[in-house]
Symmetry: D2
Subunit: 465 residues, 4 copies
């Protein structure tokens, strides 16, 4: 069986193709001479699987899309605080090459307009670095993201350099305002060089997938960008990525994106997919006309809008309670029913999942509530099992909540066994309150054995453990 | 065991309490006299479970938070196209009560500034409706969202009316621009009346949970707001909800929110939770100082930032392949191996889940690829089972992809059984290509029986089906 | 002989007539139905002589031209300081009906945009006056300026009232900002009523001539507007009168002006002439197309540009020195030459004239300077005459300088006679230093007699006195 | 007698001295180290007479005051049309170093902000000129205006160059917008060099006096700047000279002015006087604090406000009618009364003067009007004399009107004699209609002789001719 996904992407491509609006950027010849019949689209899954259609090997200069990644590099090299003190995060409502700074702070409005991007560039490596050092740093970082060695298109670089007056104006403005401290000519040349790096849609989709994958490279599984930087970059792409129509993009497409004047657009939907499209004709805002159309279609048809909830939480985690009735039993703590209650979680557990576990614990193990039939039915169970076998990850609050639940149950004298082969719970014996700890085991057999040993002779009928 | 969640919320409350910044709004006496020692926080899970801490029964006027919900009502009553033709979706960077309209279109920048909110109000029911009709419509809708009957605070309404000059200016501006067509005095009075509806944090959290739950009321499970409206409202809250610092809010908090001048803030994280906080002291932008602090803490500690991916997709769906070797078998279609391959999905399946199924199908059932060991190992299987028993929902693209997979397998002459007790697949016999259909059954036993009948004598050892 | 001036105005009219640009204002029917073939021009000299051409009896609503005169009335009724605290004087670069106030001060930018004009209206009579009181005050003042009883065009008033949403918005904005304190509806209605007063070009030219004549009515010779108000009004007309192109108007036309949407324009060149034109078709700024053309032609051909100096000063005043040789003479102060030196001024003497007199005094009556042949030649004259017979006026600095000259000469013991039949010198005996006074007489005969009596037997050969 | 004018200027200086507001510009050391106790004031009359007080020989860099004069040079070198296509004339309401251009036209708002001044500089000599050529041109022109050789302060130049980032930004912005076509670095360096030219208040007052004197140098009497350029420069100084408070300056001071960051201010009142003040402490707008105070005092006390009319026109010209009764006389044209009517003008005759003459002619020589007693009393006079002996100049419209009057009188067969020793009438025989010409003579005797010869034996008793 052949995968229908490439067929679908082909369909998206052909749906957008008849749109003849826009024109290739004409401020430099290389862009003006682009073959406007070329089109491509590429998706990269967060596990590295890649689908593409159209001219997916055609190279073009990355242009403003580099801004998103160089912003991440600047955060890494200068620290988020320093970056935030130099570059704002507000949508500007202005043209990308606006000669303006925020009232009061003097900062460029955001890193996606040229002023902010030149500033971000100047923070790469260090404020005293040379143009070559910064170029090397950026080229290496982008190559690592793309998963192959990228190169500067020298023709594009030279051409852009000849038409750099506006950017030079921005550079000197930034210097005058004390935002950049290096030579404006160096900063602008370096920025232009970064924009002239050649990529294809497969490179861009992979780079975007790193953002979608919380900074971890889908193929190498290395954490290339720290998670906080990813959050920052995606946030700024959300409100400032598509120039002067932030609100329109968020409501009609709904995933963080960035466009380049050569005709590419990238998108990243956290946890799902990295996207790249290419078609050289751009609209008056500088966004690829067909690229925007393809992104809108993908968002609509693939449900990629980040405000489309579709009951994610309910399904992400499921709590099941299994009871193994065994009659009464005497423990050191008084008498208990000879039963073991099992609570299972699965998936990537965030607050809602942990909340459900918490609720189930309170309901099943608490006192019976006359208004809630069935509540408190296991109040006297002497053995409790948490199974995290199918849990992929816990986030901060989920872990904190579960830790707290464990502490409370132990305080009540419950026998508690945790099945956690992947150690997602990160139970730290040193930190546990009162020196009380649950038993942590790797599988159901060990859990059964342990509970048996405590006297809570539980024999499960549950086929799952 | 007592749930630690209320304790956590109490902790959040107390962490924010020492912040004495800001002051109660003083433009009307009722607000100026607010007891600034009062604080509350409330979370409503998307299944209706509610946690709160602090003064969670204290009532206050909903104020600008009404804008988000009345925008949804306007979309329902006038249609999204009409609403978009009258109200933009761009962040303004301006004060909430700015006297300005978009260049060219004359529209208010967005529905979260007063000009847009008054316009949205004027679209409720119909442009020719009376003030009373609109008030009744809004009061009913908000009461239904909150799950209890709400009321207008007449004292607040009368006081606001006396100080309504700025809003009257906005109303007349909108009339002059042709944006509203009714009497400006009526529209402004109605808008002020909508802002004077009294709520508490539990009401607001529940109302937000409807937004987080794709428009379905967590308690009644009714679809109160159409899903497209929810997407629109949340999108606009994302970029325009917290007034003139859209980018700062998105990057530092990262969930759609809206604040009111009485000191409340709501937040909604799609698929997860509805949030409400209350503390009367507001900053110069009109946002509750402690409310903002609490939202930041929740975002940070609870991982509520929408750009925090945390590998959601990988875990949401898992594809398992079970093979039941039974030797060769002759079918009408030639010979096949007497084995059945089972593909299981679980959770809320979106594109990434369907993509994984598709990939597994292509790998397992396709021709062997010398570069991919193990690929094509089941190319000759005569029975295939898709189990959707644990699937909560499919979105549009997932369903479309799976339909396409089914069609392709049927075309290849495979025996295909679908276990789909909840009918999430929505297989439409009328629309299927070529009249070919899979067998759809409710459980594993039926699937086994059917395959047995086809001659593919499969006996599963898999304990899971 | 028939005056060619009406012929010239007719020529100006016909030169502008072929310009078919613009269109009659169409926001109310009365203006939209204006007969656009009508045209008129009128000049009023500062002595009340009036020339006109075209449809000089056609009446039309005064509209925004009223702003200039009501600003003057507001200054009279509320005081300049109060008016300045409420209304700025800066050109706005914005549309006349802009909904904006000065940052920081909250004041309307200037009294020529609607916001400033409504504010000025609200200051007429008193902030607590009724609409009728203000209307009566304005109607009376404008009638007095025009020299005939004017009336409100009730049809225009009613029509404007129906289309007053924008102005109502402005009114409420001003109330909200604390700029106006009365009911915004009253202020706006009163403002609209003031704009609906009917005039013809002869009325307007006469009203402008009052401004050109330093506030004195050319016909009645009454001081209708205080001189400081006139200066303020003309200053504001210079920078703000022709809406959003202050600089263009000043450089291309160069006299203070104000236009009205009904098609009229007034201009006033201080000391020279009041101008009014009428032609209903207006451009997108709201200025009459043909009116602007006529003003430009008048400025160019009639030399009305206020920056066109043309040696005014040299000619305005001339200082002649007449000496009447009479031989030696003994006075109480020692001996002097029996000669009398006469200094004559004429015209409106300002600083340059007084400076010339001062310079002549210093040269003629001072000590001989070897480098300046002829200087000091009358150092020993015993009689000095200042003739102000032909002096029309002295300004502050000229009077001050001459007083100082007189004081110094008296201190030197000179016999000094002032011929000043119009008392332009305003010599105040009470204030003179040291009780020393010159002899002030009405004509040459008295001067001659007086000097004769002092022993300086001067017999003039000068035919001029 | 000693002139009190220096004393007055001394008084103005001392009145302003206690004002300790502001601070010396501190962006370069030379300015920061300025001796802030230095103060000077200087007036230059339009005939070259100069008065000064204080530190009138102290030199300082001309800074932005150069903008006014270089604008004039640019108009001379590139033509007004070209200059207007590159630089607007609107007040900006912005800071002097704003990085902004006019919407639509891309032009700098006006030549008094840096962007406009750099553009004007680039138009000096030619767009392809070198920095040295432009500097030489400007230095020569400014030296000629000042009446002595000026020099660049190299220390100031070098220091400003080091702090030129903001201006470099402006230069590149202008290049990018196509406003300047030369190398931005050259344009900015040249501009900085022009600003570093050293002057003292006497230089500046003389330079301003050229502007006040319609472009004619007060001392050399050469036309240094064409009159149309002067008008343009003064117009722009009026609306844009004092940065972002055009309206305030026009209403409170009322003469065209320009300030420089080194602490100087120049002013020019057309036809009257050139003004310069100096005091290094500047306010936040960049205007000298004491300089502004001195200008306000001069305006108030010396009546220098250009909107202060003071009846200039009435006095500038006076028309007297002298009749010499002689009984009946037969002429070729019928019989006439043996009388000669004499019309005299004096001063600088503009429209109002010519209008009065015209009116007098029509009244005296036209048919009797029953409503106007005395009118038509000389309808039958056979000799008419126009005396221009005391006329200093005629402007265009005055000349045109008088020519037309002459033509009409000749057509009626009147004997007409013009006394015009200075040839102000510019009667062009070639152009006269119908070949009819008046007799033009140099003095009264010739006029009398000529009329006697025509048979109109007029013997004047009038002592004035």
């Amino acid at each position: 069986m052949k995968s229908p996904i490439p067929d679908y992407l082909h369909h998206v491509l052909e749906t957008a193709r008849p749109n003849e609006g826009g024109a290739a950027a004409d401020y430099i010849e290389t862009l003006a001479n682009a073959d406007t019949s070329k089109m491509a689209i590429c998706l990269s899954m967060v596990d590295g699987n890649v689908y593409s259609a159209g001219d997916d090997k055609i190279e073009f200069s990355i242009q403003s899309i580099s801004k998103a990644f160089v912003y991440a590099i600047a955060i890494e090299d200068a620290g988020l605080d320093q970056v935030l003190s130099k570059i704002g995060v507000e949508p500007s409502g202005d043209r990308f090459n606006q000669l303006s700074l925020e009232r009061n702070t003097n900062r460029p409005m955001n890193p996606m307009i040229n002023a902010g991007a030149i500033t971000a560039h100047s923070l790469v490596v260090s404020p005293t670095a040379t143009l070559d050092q910064r170029t090397e740093r950026i080229l290496n970082a982008l190559s690592r993201l793309a998963g192959r060695q990228l190169h500067v298109d020298e023709e594009v670089y030279q051409a852009e350099l000849k038409d750099a007056d506006r950017n030079m104006a921005i550079g000197y403005m930034l210097k005058a305002a004390g935002i950049i401290t290096c030579d404006p000519q160096e900063a602008v040349r370096g920025y232009i060089r970064q924009c002239a790096i050649n990529v294809n849609v497969q490179d861009l989709a992979m780079m975007s997938a790193v953002l979608a994958n919380a900074g971890v490279h889908p193929v190498s599984n290395e954490q290339i960008i720290p998670q906080t930087s990813v959050r920052q970059v995606l946030s700024v792409m959300t409100t400032c990525g598509m120039y002067d129509a932030a609100g329109d993009w968020v409501s009609s497409v709904g995933f963080p994106a960035k466009s380049g004047v050569a005709g590419a657009i990238i998108g990243a939907l956290p946890g799902q997919v990295g996207i790249a499209t290419f078609s050289p004709k751009i609209d008056e805002r500088g966004n690829s006309v067909r690229g925007v159309a393809m992104c809108q279609q993908l968002s609509r048809e693939m449900g990629l809008h980040m405000m489309d909830a579709s009951h994610v939480a309910r399904s992400t985690v499921q709590t099941s309670v299994s009871t193994l009735v065994e009659g009464e039993h005497k423990t050191h703590n008084g008498s208990c029913k000879r039963e073991v209650v099992v609570f299972k979680l699965r998936g990537a557990v965030r607050f809602p999942g942990a909340e459900r576990l918490t609720r189930a614990l309170a309901r099943e193990l608490g006192q019976p509530d006359p208004l809630d039939e069935g509540s408190g039915s296991h109040a006297d169970a002497c053995g409790i099992v948490f199974s995290f076998r199918d849990v992929f990850s816990l986030n901060f609050i989920a872990r904190r909540l579960i830790h707290e639940n464990i502490a409370r149950l132990l305080k009540e004298g419950k026998v508690l066994v945790i099945i956690d082969p992947s150690e997602v719970l990160e139970w730290d014996k040193a930190k546990a309150k009162d020196g009380r700890h649950p038993k942590v085991v790797d599988n159901e057999t060990e859990a059964r054995d342990y509970i048996g040993g405590t006297g809570c002779q539980a024999v499960s009928q549950d086929p799952e453990w």
